[in-house]
């Protein structure tokens, strides 16, 4: 195990693990020890990891629901307004408000708006695009998209204390611990 230190202000303490199982176990222990502001990084989604760091509130579904409703309602309203109010055309004697014909565009725009909300909502809630982030200052972090697993305790955590947090993380038997300069 190596220990790295630096002089600039500290963003947090980062520990590196070899496997997904170790990371989840470490995340559970850190959260249980009372650390609130922590995060975990992995090259692929791990079931239960978000819960392990105490993240439960996921508003993506709500964003998608709202997007879909706006898409559907505005599509139907647009068609109604065009076909009945502003530009009524008699097509083969059909009623102006020929609702079965309006279903397809309503359906398509519901999907379109909901899908765009899912993608844009996810990216925005994740705070992306983010050109700079302190975790990338740790050289080993390049492996976070390959085969290594990281846990960080942010220095903004009320329980954070450079020495005590380091010894706590040390007990989790990581490969290495690094201070993350901000």
């Amino acid at each position: 195990m190596t220990i790295e230190t630096s002089e600039s202000p500290i963003y947090g303490l980062m520990a590196e693990f070899d496997s997904a199982q170790e990371l989840v176990a470490a995340a559970h222990k850190t959260h249980a020890a009372g650390y609130q502001k922590i995060d975990a990084y992995s090259p692929f989604p791990i079931e239960g990891l978000a819960e392990a760091i105490g993240f439960h509130k996921n508003s993506v579904p709500l964003v998608v629901l709202i997007g879909g409703l706006i898409g559907g309602i505005s599509a139907y309203a647009l068609q109604y307004w065009v076909a009945v109010i502003t530009y009524p055309v008699n097509v083969a004697g059909r009623p102006y408000h020929s609702w079965p014909s309006f279903i397809i565009v309503t359906f398509e725009l519901t999907i379109l708006f909901a899908g765009l909300s899912a993608a844009i909502g996810m990216i925005a809630l994740n705070g992306l695009p983010m050109p700079y982030h302190p975790v990338f200052n740790v050289p080993e972090f390049a492996k976070a998209s390959e085969n290594k697993f990281f846990l960080i305790v942010f220095s903004s955590d009320p329980k954070y204390d450079a020495a005590r947090t380091r010894s706590f993380l040390n007990d989790l038997a990581p490969r290495m611990i690094a201070e993350v300069p901000s």
């Binding site: 997904a20 392990a52 993608a119």
Partner: protein, 463 residues
């Protein structure tokens, strides 16, 4: 227990991913194709061919814009011709990509993880090719934006009761959602490429595309939700896009078009031709780039089985058309059947039956499903057959409608053929570039297939 020691049925099959791979070998193998594999002479030679074909399209469209649609073989009574035949064919091909990425994702078919990325790319390129045809067919493509509802000085609005307007919404939504789904899937892989890239420029480009993705647990959590919702939203699109395309025909009263079987039969045909295209692309790509570990025989066999099943649905559609022609007692419908079998286009119809119904039945035999050469050949035959199907639907019905005085023959011109060949060139050019600049297999999704990625302890701790 004795049963526990037996090998489960699922494990006796060829695995989805060859044994011996780790998180890093997967990333290495896939990203090296993009980052460090030298450009081979074969790639350049092939690229020159497909790029020349794409330039045929540019020439054909350039001349079309100068002269108008008169350079095509379309005229009354056959006003649709190649433009619509090719549009429906290309759109259909796209469907397999969405089926693989969305429906198989919801059904937890893990084998999809190694073919979804390039199948989605195939969808995008196919839909882009498809879009060219109706656009050019409008005659004045520079005014195509009139199809969209927007406030304008002409005080005109589209007629929302028209299937052609539905089509605009269906196809543009399909393209947009496919693009978004594809891009969202690529974000974590862009981050992988960013972290592996050695040159600063390449690192910057992928870094820009990755938008600062760092694999945070919070991000993954939202990401997975968004991905699942996108899959759920794209699923009805698989079924609806070709349904709406079939409405272009079925809402009309032309014999052979005005049938209720069209939507399901079009969707099955779309998936049929789409899987044929997936196999036509996957078989050479896995051989050239040595991806047999990730695209195993199991994938090819599964795709062949989907092809066989959808092919039988299509065969049922033909059977129903013939049955209704005979049973309905409508002279126009029964004449349509007679005309297909004995009329001027009988050879095309015979070729269609051979390509779409009879030849693909060899896929019942395992020997043909596990031989890449045979499988490729059968897939190619299906692609030809599905093109012929659209040709028969569009041309034969229009050439012989209700009045003998309005009968006519359709002769495609060299410009028709050039446009068609050109879109194939455009599709292949895009594929050619895609395999070298983007990871053609989803790296992170493949990693989740390794047993090491599964954490069972988490659930126990919660309880």
């Amino acid at each position: 227990m004795a049963t526990n020691t037996q090998i489960p049925v699922a494990d006796r099959r060829v695995p989805v991913i060859a044994p011996g791979h780790t998180f890093s070998t997967i990333g290495e193998k896939i990203s090296n194709i993009v980052l460090s594999r030298p450009v081979s002479l074969g790639w350049i030679f092939g690229f020159l061919i497909v790029f020349s074909m794409m330039n045929l399209l540019m020439i054909a469209l350039g001349y079309l814009f100068i002269k108008g649609t008169g350079i095509w073989g379309i005229n009354i009574p056959i006003g649709w011709g190649f433009a619509i035949v090719n549009f429906v064919w290309w759109i259909g091909i796209g469907h397999a990509g969405t089926l693989i990425s969305a429906i198989l994702c919801l059904l937890r078919q893990t084998w999809r993880n190694s073919i979804n990325r390039f199948a989605e790319a195939m969808t995008l390129f196919a839909v882009a090719c498809a879009g060219i045809f109706p656009l050019a067919h409008t005659g004045r493509p520079w005014l195509a934006y009139w199809l969209f509802p927007y406030p304008n000085t002409m005080r005109y609005w589209p007629n929302f009761r028209s299937p052609l307007v539905w089509d605009v919404f269906a196809v543009s939504t399909y393209f947009t959602i496919s693009l978004v789904f594809w891009f969202v899937g690529l974000i974590p892989d862009f981050a992988s490429l960013r972290d592996r890239a050695e040159s600063t420029l390449v690192q910057r480009i992928y870094g820009l595309l990755a938008m600062g993705w760092r694999g945070s647990a919070r991000h993954w959590h939202r990401y997975e939700t968004a991905y699942l919702l996108l899959a759920g939203l794209a699923t009805p699109l698989v079924l609806s896009v070709h349904t709406v395309v079939s409405f272009d025909f079925a809402v009309g009263i032309v014999p052979g078009w005005h049938t209720t079987i069209f939507p399901p039969y079009f969707v099955a045909g779309a998936i049929y031709s789409g899987f044929a295209m997936v196999l036509c692309l996957a078989i050479p790509i896995r051989a050239i780039y040595g991806l047999q570990d990730f695209i195993t025989m199991r994938h090819l066999e599964n795709a062949a089985k989907v092809m066989l099943a959808t092919g039988l649905i299509v065969a049922y559609g033909y059977g129903m058309e013939a049955f209704m022609g005979w049973y309905s007692g409508s002279q126009f419908d029964s004449f349509l059947l007679w005309n297909r079998l004995h009329g001027p286009y009988r050879l095309s119809y015979a070729a269609l039956l051979a390509c779409n119904i009879f030849i693909p039945q060899v896929l019942w035999l395992k020997k043909f499903r596990v031989s890449t050469g045979w499988l490729w050949l059968v897939s190619f035959v299906v692609l030809v057959g599905m093109w012929l199907e659209r040709f028969i639907i569009v041309v034969v019905s229009l050439s012989r409608d209700f009045l003998t005085s309005s009968w006519g023959q359709y002769y495609p011109t060299k410009w028709d053929w050039m446009t068609f060949a050109g879109t194939i060139g455009m599709f292949l050019t895009a594929m050619w570039l895609f395999v070298r600049i983007l990871p053609m297999i989803s790296i992170f999704e493949l990693r989740t297939l390794l047993p090491e990625s599964q954490v069972h302890e988490a659930a126990e701790v919660k309880q």
